[in-house]
Every structure is written in C-alpha cells, then in structure tokens.
C-alpha cells in the first residue's frame, strides 16, 4: 500500500492502466444487465435499480472518471440489450451522477486501503444528492431538449422519480456496501511484506 500523495488530477482521472479498463468494462456490463433485469420500475425510463450499487463499487475502486464511464456506457449497453430505444440524454445524466458518486477518493475515503468513516459517509450522502439533482434535474432535461425536443413534463416526472429512487438506493444500499468493502480491504492491509 503506497502512502504517497496523488495529485488531484490523477485522482479525478484515475490511473489508466489495464486494470482500470477491465474494471470499467465489467462495471458497465453489470450496470447494463442490472439496469434491465435488476430493478423495480417506478416510472417509465426510471426504476429503483440495483445498478447504482455497481457505480459505487467502481467509484470506490477506480475513481470518478471510471465511475462516470461505467455508468454512461452501462446505460448505452442497457439500451442496446433491452431495446427501450436509445436515450443518450439519460446516459449522459447517469455519467454525471457516476462522476459525483465516484468522487470518494477526493475527500479521503480510500476504500482500497480500508478507510471509510462516518464523516466520509456524510460527505458521500451530500454529494449523492447534489449529483442526482444536477444530473437528472439539469443535465438530462437540457439534453432531452437538444436531442428530442420532447415533452418536458414527462421528463420532469421521470427526473423526479429518478432522483428519489437513485438517491435512496445510493444511500440505503451504497453506504453499507462501502463499509463492507472497506472492511474487506482493511483485513488485507494487516499483512506486512517480509524482507
């Protein structure tokens, strides 16, 4: 475990090695499949989906940009395998949300080293709510206007239910998962390398 400080830029972008690429790919695949099969439908285009948990894990292990890519590409994959039609506005919204969720290492919650405390959980909750509101309250409607010039009332209803359902999943399931992951990784750090 390296204790050297990493620059903000490298924390934001993540380290782009093969491991990160595979991690994003598997995250995107899980996100896509869970989005189609692992949810309870709340309104059209939105569901109380367990897919968000995957974004939390990717964010914890790899950082914000990988989490954003996993969520965005995962949504494209979900659209492709499910056939709801392509809603790139929602994919972009999910990517923005993924970015906010994945900001974990930036405020010192280093899951891979087993560091996740109550104060991190509080910051995480706040960021989840801000990210949700920004992603589905502003970004998605703007892109919906650009792409489809579609009926916005529906988008608002969908956005509202998306905000509520995603935020509740991210907080209610996400925080226990983060504690679990941190505990799992903390056990591994007790081992010290013998010379």
């Amino acid at each position: 475990m390296s204790n050297e400080k990493r620059s903000i830029k490298s924390l934001l972008l993540g380290t782009w090695n093969t491991k990160t690429i595979v991690g994003i790919a598997i995250g995107a695949a899980l996100f896509g499949v869970l989005m189609v099969f692992g949810g309870i439908r709340v309104a059209t285009n939105t569901s109380l989906t367990s897919a968000m948990v995957v974004v939390v894990v990717v964010g914890a292990l790899f950082g914000p940009l990988p989490a954003a890519l996993a969520a965005g590409l995962g949504n494209v994959i979900a659209d492709l395998i499910s056939g709801y039609g392509f809603w790139f506005d929602w994919s972009i919204g999910n990517a923005v949300l993924g970015f906010f969720v994945g900001l974990l290492p930036l405020y010192g919650a280093r899951i891979e080293e087993g560091v996740f405390q109550v104060k991190h959980a509080v910051i995480y909750t706040i960021l989840c709510i801000i990210g949700n509101a920004l992603a589905f309250g502003i970004v998605t409607p703007v892109f919906t206007m650009l792409f489809f010039s579609s009926e916005l009332t529906i988008t608002w209803i969908q956005a509202f239910s998306a905000i509520i359902s995603n935020a509740s999943i991210l907080v209610v399931i996400g925080i226990p998962v983060l504690f679990l992951l941190a505990k799992r990784n903390a056990r591994a750090t007790n081992l010290s390398k013998e010379d």
Partner: protein, 285 residues
Amino acid sequence: MDDKRLFVNTTPGNRFLDKLTGKTKVRTFLILIVLLIATWDIRVILPFFILSWIALISLKPDWKKVWGVMAFVVAMNLFNLFLVWVVRPDYGLNICGGSTVIFKFTDFYIITSETLWYFMVRFLKLLGTFTISLTFIQCITPSEMAAGLYSCKVPYKVCTIFSIAFRYIPDISRDFHSIKISMQMRGMELDSEKTSLWTRLKQNVLILVPLIITSFDRVGNIANGMDLRGYGKNKTRTYYAEHEEGPGDKKMKVVYMLFLAIMIFVIIWRFFFPAEYEVWCPWIS
C-alpha cells in the same frame, strides 16, 4: 436474468449480415440510429422502419425470443404514450399544429387525430430504433464491435471497454444462475408461490452481493492476462476479428454512404429550415 432475453453472440454466423466486417456493421448501425433520432418525419421513418424489419427477417432469428422482447418493448412504449396523453391530452396541437377532436371524455381529456398521429410517428420511430438495435446485436460479436468502433476513430481503450463488457454479459448471466442455485441449495426459497414478493426481492438483493464481488475479483485476472499479452503497449491496434472486405461490404458501403447522405441532409434541413411544427402531418400542410 437468464439467457432467454440475451442475444450476445461470440462466434459469427454465416448469414449475409454476419459475413460483413465489423466496420460496415458498426458504421451502418450508428448512421441509422442517429438518423432515426434526428428525424420526426414519417416520410423518412417509414422506409427505414420497413428496411429494419427486412434486415431482421433476413437474419432468421429465434422468433420466440424476439417476440418476447418485442411484446415487452411495445407494452413499455404504449404505456409511455399513455403517460404523455394523461399529462397533455392535446399534445398534437403543439407538435403537429392542429386539433381535430374525435372523442371527448371531459373538456380536458380529449382524443384528437393529431395527437394520435404524433403517437403513431413516435411509436414507429422507437420501434424502428429497437428493431435496428436488435438486428445489430444479433449479427455482431464483441470483437467485431471493438474493431468497428476503432474504425470510427474511437480510442482503442474505449473499444476494449465495449468489447469486454459485451463479452462479459453472458458470464454475468451464468454467474447469477449458479449463485442462485447454490443459494437455493442452502435453503433459500425463491419459488413465487411459496414466498411473498418482498422476501423474494430481498433474496434477489442477497444474490447481487456475491455477484458483484466475484465480478470485481475477476478484474485482476483479466487485466494480468491482457498485460501479459502486451495490451496497451502501442498507440494503435489491429484486430484479429476484422477480416478483409468482401463483395457484401462493397455493396453495403454504397448503401451506408447513401444513408449518411440522407442523415446529413435531414439534420441540415432541420437545422436551417426548421418547420413551424416538429411533426409533419398529411392533412395539415
């Protein structure tokens, strides 16, 4: 979450569309999707809708599987349209520019022929997009998809993300199935007749935890395998799955260039000469 609804191929077949190169498949697909998203004109949508069905039929797919997915998508879209109607019954006035009342429930809840026209256009548009993506996913393999995206100047690391993700989907389905069986063997009841919906939901969440953990545990193995084979050492990449262009590709190249021309025309037309109303309606203009 079983194999019934997944259409991921890992080996190419020998139908006409299968034999094309990944480059042709991906380019045609992307052009068609952008075209269908960009247009609201039934005169453009209808030919492509019919074309997409011809393509789907030419693949001779497993129709039982296709109807299953199709029924779901049609139901979803109809429900979506119903929601639009509930919120704005007279939506046709905004988007087609007319309001011919056919039937009146109350003063607010009316059925106008323009709204119905808009619903039909939208339905055909979404179903067309769906048929195209269904055709695409049935005739492509993950490696061909990566090769095709790479030919569209997408950075190859992103292409790899796509191909690994697609390759991994059947594995997720298999893992889910085996975790479910082993959990049932330990006494977890998933039968819909014996347990309530809520407990079944909770148990499905319990399956997710090992599914996610095993999936991410595998990241290290896959990444090591790729590193050992020298992945990511060079700036460019060639694909084993990409074969030489055959006669079919040369024909398809003409076809997709034509589609590209239509797409550019539609987008430019919409941008520079925006119609007063988004959806063209035969009895209004």
